[in-house]
Symmetry: C2
Subunit: 338 residues, 2 copies
DNA sequence: TTGTATGCGTTATCAT
DNA sequence: ATGATAACGCATACAA
């Protein structure tokens, strides 16, 4: 694993290492033919500059760190892809780390990335409480960071968000327009900034159409949770008109149990999910869900980060709110209970 | 972004930088109380060793690179997770890169990781042809690499594989045992080492039960491809007893079209997929599929890599073949066409 | 037990 | 236009 260095090239060509170095950095004076000669032999020898040495002296890495809570649930991979495309175009390498939904791991990940002198970070948080002080410190030190999806409200920073309020409102209103009245909302137990926005959207839509009382169930939103919730409804023979779940999994779990008990969807009970997964299209019936512009989120985050890196002086933090789409499918279509 | 260095600590305590350095590396002699003092003030000052400098001098990084073709399709994230767990336990940080199914990007990714002095690599290849020479070179240089899932047969290296032959055989035999005779296999157009193994498994199972001719369709295995294939069968009124697809997506696409045309599954036509995705459980009817031990693949790859890193002398390359499971679901159950 | 000095592979600041 | 040399932050052989 012996690496070729500029020294080797210098020795071979009987020039000084500074000349060799200059050949790779156009900004310096160097005769055209010596430059070409150096570049040529460098290629022959298979020379690759050592980024460690470069980073050490330049105090920057052209690396961007992306930290996400997990990437099994199809949302984050696409965001990452969107960001990576932009960053690669600008010659930044992307270092990806996942925190396994643990703030502790998240902290370690970010520390590693900072230690490795990333030029900037794109982060979706595990928790909104644990590492606030640390992030404040990083931002104060001038490290460019863009938060997305799961952010801390009180943190002054650049953020890329989704208009959860609006789309929860729309979704609820869509269900109401189908003639449904007794609409249940299933919200995540873990509190994120978007949780309340979605709840408010649901509530306001219900209120607007004079539908009270409103019922909210707090859950971890797994498939199993959905199944359990459905079972409870069936046991108590208290069947709502519709269930609007804060993710697809929970909706799908509930749907499955209702189907098994002979309920017709959407006639007997309608469903809507949120932040659409691949599943929504493939379950039977297909699930109405709010889709987020995942790639655009990544792209936007990356662009904002690059902007921040370029004008380090002006530290004005923007918040960009992106639009989504309500994909209306069989699970909530043309119900009209009168 | 001014970082605290050992110099700062040394100055503050009026000791030399080597003493400070020694305080962090137990292997040297150092008085207990000076050590404690140094560690204490280091903590107070918020000192963090600069990994760049460390890497530069130690020629190793405690970083492991993982390179995958993509991570949207639920298979790779879990493998990565499995590997990461093992590696983190051994104090290795994981740098993740995705190649977007492009050998060129893959090459760049690996180069970046190598430049950054990763201590080892875990790779699933985009193509089995493009970068062979490069990988041979890396292995020859002594860089520990473990390949998994998509590997190059002719490359002498450590590999973690799945017994595709066996499970394709089992799956085919399962379909035959359901009384089905005219069984079609849909194989990937792109050739990977596993492609032929699965085809052989299918063929041998058919032959064993004296079922000829066998029909194989080559496809890109997307949902749309599945739909197209199904449409063609229906148009030509030539309906097979069963379709055994080399992935779930294609099977699901085909299933969807057959359902739309009023076919009963599995009565009119049965289905089986491969390398189970989350979808298999959620489509209707649920899809029979071969599940691979994704986390175990990652875990095994990581363990083999660590072993390789530890005994660099002995370069004996192992190939580990892991077992899977055939999850039999509604799409192929109790058909018995007589 | 501690300090001095050297080097890892670069870039950058001087000279020449 | 080029060469010598000092950094960057750390580990380590050697001297004290």
């Amino acid at each position: 694993m012996k690496h070729i260095t500029i020294k080797d090239i210098a020795k071979k060509l009987n020039v000084s290492i500074s000349t060799v170095s200059r050949a790779f950095n156009d900004k310096y004076d160097i005769r055209q033919d010596t430059k070409e000669l150096i570049l040529k032999t460098a290629k022959e020898l298979g020379y690759r500059p050592n980024p460690m040495a470069k980073k050490l002296i330049q105090q920057r890495s052209f690396n961007i760190g992306i930290v996400v809570p997990e990437f099994e649930k199809s949302y984050f991979p696409q965001v990452i892809l969107g960001a990576q495309n932009v960053l690669l175009e600008h010659n930044y390498q992307v270092l990806l780390m996942q925190s396994n939904e643990s703030s502790e791991t998240e902290r370690k990940n970010v520390e590693t990335l900072v230690d490795n002198m990333v030029d900037g970070l794109i982060i979706s948080l595990c928790s909104e409480e644990e590492n606030i002080a640390y992030y404040k410190q990083l931002i104060a030190k001038g490290l460019p960071i863009v938060f997305f999806n799961r952010v801390i409200d009180e943190l002054e920073a650049t953020k890329v968000l989704f208009d959860d309020y609006k789309w929860a409102f729309f979704t609820t209103e869509h269900l109401i327009q189908q003639g449904l009245k007794n609409i249940i909302h299933i919200a995540p137990k873990k509190k994120y900034s978007y949780t309340n926005n979605r709840i408010s959207g649901y509530k306001d839509a219900m209120t607007k159409h004079k539908l009270v009382p409103q019922k909210i169930i707090y859950s971890h939103l797994t498939v199993e949770d959905g199944e359990e919730i459905a079972t409870r409804f069936i046991e108590t023979k208290n069947i709502p008109d519709a269930i609007f779940s804060s993710n697809d999994y929970c909706a799908i779990g509930a749907m499955r149990v209702f189907k098994q008990h002979g309920f017709k969807i959407p006639k007997d009970i309608a469903f809507a999910g949120f932040s659409e997964t691949q599943l929504s299209e493939f379950v039977d019936p297909q699930l109405t869900s709010v889709s987020q512009p995942t790639k655009l989120i990544g792209k936007t985050a990356a662009e904002l980060l690059l902007k921040q890196i370029d004008n380090k002086e002006s530290s004005i933090y923007q918040t960009v709110v992106l639009n989504g789409n309500l994909n209306i499918r069989e699970s909530s279509m043309k119900v009209l209970k009168l």
